[in-house]
Subunit: 381 residues, 2 copies
């Protein structure tokens, strides 16, 4: 009995699954997976784990070698065009050439202007067959921030990260009682999901008000029950506080945890906060007309530091500012099955008077997370 | 080759599908389906279409006869206990006895105190094997209002209908701009779905404010594109206006359409509205402490008139009153992917100050309807 060989789509889907294992660790690099196949059998596989360490292709080749498999004449499935330049590691295209693969199937061209087709050209020049755009859409979802940042690099606009804005509300769109009482609107599963969104973010942005009122830790605390292998190596995302008037005090919980905290303000503080637990930095940011931090400039500054994905976790005012300035790529809303009433606090301080001012979104995902509903939407263009 | 005979569950599921064909027409009777099976073959089937016409069992027996099939020794699958009393039609239990079936499988006991086990007793007395509780939960969903009304009949409480409350909101829980501008928040598919919910309701309740401000028709206008066979015979639900101060005028659109309109108020009007298009009646209703219509009494009055299912389509104030008095069985919310802002009107005027006042619900269904999300929740006990 003969069976039909697996298709390119099949192996690329596996490569994408591998890439996902780097979801919480590769920043500022993209998540990339690679599968090496010969005679319809997987002879090696790998994914990029951490910046400065081996890329997916290199790891897959090493895996094949360790297993005693010869890579000569194999097909390599990679979720992103192999790099052609020397960065912290040698170019992966050269690695594949040296491994003598005969065919490379890629999900998408690297949007990084330093690569952008050069990897493919290098492979073709070595006589390797190259196929591109295999599951490009699925691969793009792995790296929304990296792709956005790199794609903007070649345009008139300064690059900015991919911005997610998270909000947890009641059925009637409220986030807290007027008094501020809000614990807990959503359940433990939704809160655990937020931890995962934080873990895949390079930076979390909050406002001074949130720090002063809620005193959040804004760090990643994945508990044992939602840990899988890849979560062992979690980075703590950069915690950015937008604090134009330097109101946040050093006793805030956010300064008592390991990692990095950045305070953004248009003005220099009188006294800089120093913490024995975390690295505190100050970002002199451009001022908006209202003497607040100019959000676009802040995002540009973060992108220039290699920040791909940002999570905004803020109150109604700052969230509204991000939305009104059209800086939010993705809205993540958790809806709890409860009514908090019309005196409770709104999710977004958006003072619209006419329907034509409404801001419309496109559904991306709707699913239950525990007893709450998780809605993911992107800005409707 | 021999095949395994179909199970009781299989035929009951078919009977439930049949019963659903009466969704828009049986009121005030329950929706009931019946399948007659002999030697693992369906020999007849039927469902109740309209009060005063044949019950499901009678229709199924007639179908078998028409097809030239003998019902002797058949098994009858019925979604509700066969009735034992003479109503507008002879008892169905007797019909099954006369048809000489040997076995009756029922989904659930009839909650009607006039039946409640008597149908089964009558069948057993005739030597027929009776099996109950086959897909009881699924069958109960066919008739939430009938079951609630009948189940309460034997208690200290006066029966009230099953109350659905429908609300269409933005992602931030708003129903209209402050000015009242609201057309359209949800899309045509969601609005067509509301038509179907209206069509299965015995009565629609709205407030005088809605009539004065929005001038709705509150009738069923199923358009050709969402019509199936059963929709040909749609009843127009009773349109109930809660108008304590008799503010609604005869020129309102609601009086220009066929069907019945009932105006509920604790006081007699100075002048009664008369319409050449519809039947207008007045319901003298008990007054609440605030001289408004007492909602519980109103619902009791409607139940006593055979109203099983009520749909509340109202503004934030009346909706909140129904919710605060714990009169809503089912919340149906359509969520449009848009933000209307914090100055827009809230869905429910619920002036809560503390989290402990929140009103929690249980998810029943979440699905996309066109480009909007339809959420169905029931009151959390």
């Amino acid at each position: 009995m003969t069976t039909k060989p697996h298709s390119d789509l099949h192996y690329m889907a596996l490569a994408i699954q591998l890439a996902k294992q780097g979801l919480y660790t590769t920043s500022p690099n993209p998540r990339v997976g690679c599968v090496l196949v010969k005679n319809d059998e997987i002879i090696g596989q790998g994914f990029h784990i951490k910046a400065g360490e081996g890329h997916a292709e290199v790891n897959a080749i090493a895996d094949a070698n360790e297993r005693g498999n010869l890579t000569k004449n194999a097909t390599a499935y990679v979720t992103l065009e192999p790099c052609s330049h020397f960065g912290r590691t040698p170019p992966c295209a050269q690695g594949l050439i040296d491994a003598q693969v005969s065919r490379v199937v890629s999900a998408m061209t690297d949007p990084n202007p330093e690569v952008a087709g050069n990897g493919f050209a290098m492979l073709r020049a070595a006589g390797i067959e190259v196929v591109d755009n295999c599951l490009a859409g699925e691969s793009a979802k792995l790296n929304p921030g990296f792709i956005k940042r790199m794609s903007m690099a070649g345009t008139e606009h300064k690059p900015v990260p991919y911005v997610r804005l998270k909000m947890a509300t009641s059925l009637d769109g409220r986030t807290a009682m007027q008094s501020g009482e809000s614990q807990w609107i959503t359940g433990p599963e939704a809160r655990a999901e937020v931890q995962k969104i934080r873990a895949q973010s390079c930076a979390i942005i909050c406002g001074a008000d949130s720090v002063l009122i809620d005193d959040p830790s804004m760090n990643v605390r994945i508990s044992a029950d939602c840990t899988d292998g890849s979560l062992q190596q979690i980075r703590q995302p950069l915690r950015v506080i937008i604090d134009s008037q330097h109101r946040v005090k050093s006793k805030a919980k956010i300064f008592t945890l390991t990692g990095k905290v950045m305070i953004a303000s248009p003005v220099e503080p009188e006294h800089r906060i120093i913490s024995e637990f975390c690295e505190v930095s100050y970002l002199q940011s451009a001022a908006s007309q209202s003497h607040q931090v100019d959000l676009t400039t802040l995002l540009e500054q973060l992108a220039s530091q290699g920040i791909n994905e940002v999570l905004v976790e803020s109150g109604a005012k700052l969230a509204a500012a991000f939305i009104q300035q059209d800086l939010v790529d993705e809205l993540v809303m958790f809806t709890a099955p409860t009514l908090l009433g019309s005196d409770a606090r709104p999710a977004f301080n958006l003072p619209f008077a006419k329907m034509e001012q409404q801001i419309r979104w496109s559904w991306q995902d709707v699913r239950m997370v525990g007893n709450d509903l998780k809605l993911v939407l992107t800005r409707k263009i």
